[in-house]
Symmetry: C2
Subunit: 341 residues, 2 copies
Amino acid sequence: MTKQRFTIKDVASRAGVAVSTASLVLNNKGYVSSDLRKKVQLAVEELGYVPNRTARSLINKATGNIGFIVSEEHFSTAEPFYTRVFLGTEFEARQQDFYVLLTTVPNKFHSSHIPRFILERNVDGVIFAGKISEAYAKAVISENIPSVVVDFEFKQVRIPAINIDNTRGTALAVEHLFKLGHKKIAFIGGDMDHPSIRSRLDGYLEAIERFGLDKCDSLISTEEPGTGTEDGYQAAKKLLSRKSDFTSVVACNDAVAIGAIRAFRENGMNLPDDCSTVGFDDIELCDNIDPRLTSISVPKEDLGATALRILSRMIKEKERPISSVLIEPRLVARQSTVSLS
Amino acid sequence: MTKQRFTIKDVASRAGVAVSTASLVLNNKGYVSSDLRKKVQLAVEELGYVPNRTARSLINKATGNIGFIVSEEHFSTAEPFYTRVFLGTEFEARQQDFYVLLTTVPNKFHSSHIPRFILERNVDGVIFAGKISEAYAKAVISENIPSVVVDFEFKQVRIPAINIDNTRGTALAVEHLFKLGHKKIAFIGGDMDHPSIRSRLDGYLEAIERFGLDKCDSLISTEEPGTGTEDGYQAAKKLLSRKSDFTSVVACNDAVAIGAIRAFRENGMNLPDDCSTVGFDDIELCDNIDPRLTSISVPKEDLGATALRILSRMIKEKERPISSVLIEPRLVARQSTVSLS
DNA sequence: AAACTTTGTCGAAACGTTTCGCTATTTTGA
DNA sequence: TCAAAATAGCGAAACGTTTCGACAAAGTTT
């Protein structure tokens, strides 16, 4: 049996006031004399009183919870991208006095997959993380629950999106390579219907144009269906088969970069001299492969914390939400990029 | 504003009964005639009534939540071991009608790091995941909150522990190698004060003795402080420096195995012919390195689900808890182990 | 001086649900 | 036949907290 706890009745009794007076003090509301206020505060301290969240939730009609929905495949991957995003939300939740309930759902929607916390109305808001079926968002919106999405953008549903500035990220990568003297910069990717990946290609193209560099289709390989290591490997093979004499590559993410590196090695290339490579996301493995991978760093915890903060404001202040937020990436230079010699 | 919901008052009104009668039907309690029971059930269906968890929690004095505490370093690692354990708990929580609140804490205890959900009494039970300071467990116990630990065992605190049968796991590894004709089987590890790693060494030793194999200290390298890839690399180097003519190795986990493989390669060894290697945990990378790593598979979701189930029973039925549970591992044979030729 | 406003404190209703105890009827056992 | 038990349905208290409205005193404005 859990330890017995003091309630506001005990606090009131000990301070010699009414329960409603104690509540006014606890919530810093109404008029309470300085004298009585101090008595209540002393009683709270002496008893170690902690308000009962459940009772507060019932009367305030607010659960104090936020739901975090991520697809199964996204959450269990070897790289803890969404784990870190989640940790960012959990950390900010401590400041905002919320609890985050995490659940995974299959990417393919079915009404039976709608999370319990939506059906039971056990959350005040929802954060969607990453690529996920839009039907889930529609289900949440139909319940009039405020929501935001992180690291993704729905095609039809209009909710605030918190994303890395992908365009800026790959532009930074191109700039980095350009400054190292590279003129023939390729781009490899896959899963091009993913809006983040699409933006990364846009950023690459924009920078190529800005620096007046070679922009031809033979430098771009984006036909693979996914963005895993194997997709990177295949995309790189295709790039190589075109004999397009690139001296460097911007990959749409680190897994693709790692796969590309394997393909270049198999092609007998001496890395990084024969080809500089930049990835995106700055996963842990960047520091553990050879050569250690230059990458565009995504502050994953910041994504999560920002999402939680925006959603909190939507919930607490019923204010019109911000349309979207882009978070600034930065480039982490490692051994995989060198000056063109 | 969230969509208005029907309450039990609406259900009662629509069924033409008292609220208490409706509650008896919903909870399958007391005596209610078949006729009235059906009327209530129909009203529930027609209105799409879902009980308010908050109101139930208040009257039942049970939050319906379980806390999941894992150290920061454990949860953010590149391999989602505890992510999967957590997902196991989340999945079982759906069946047991609990929500799991996940929080990370620094491994080094400080009273300010005690999770909010303990201080606020917002959980009915707690699951500790992995190596973590015993002071956290003491804080939870002092609040009379039921708790269990997964993939770890506290030295002093006595709470149910759900672990892989580590001893059995490494014994399986030795058996596998023995059946492939190996007689000189080494063991490499680190962080030997971790009870799981200690048990894995014990299992190796037990099997070596059972099969009447060579058991000498020069075949064991366990001086490294951790169990990461780099620790495996160093442990393997030490093993090699002894010139002890082992033909196979059991590693205390996959990261150590992967590090060891790198060391063997640097030593000019032809893998897997010159040395068979078995890891432990069966992480994703096992399928992605060369040679693909034979490993002792740990059903991580089962660990989590079992922990949740045991804790649920402790909470709901106030029963005396099971002392501990060992979950059976299994060996997944891949390319890193071959017959001795 | 009188009317109005502000300050101060408290009682009780409310939030949505569960369960106890009351009253009445029916069934069962001695 | 009568007493006890089971069946049936309901009213109201309770869970812990918040807030509204009532009442009183003090201060301000006309």
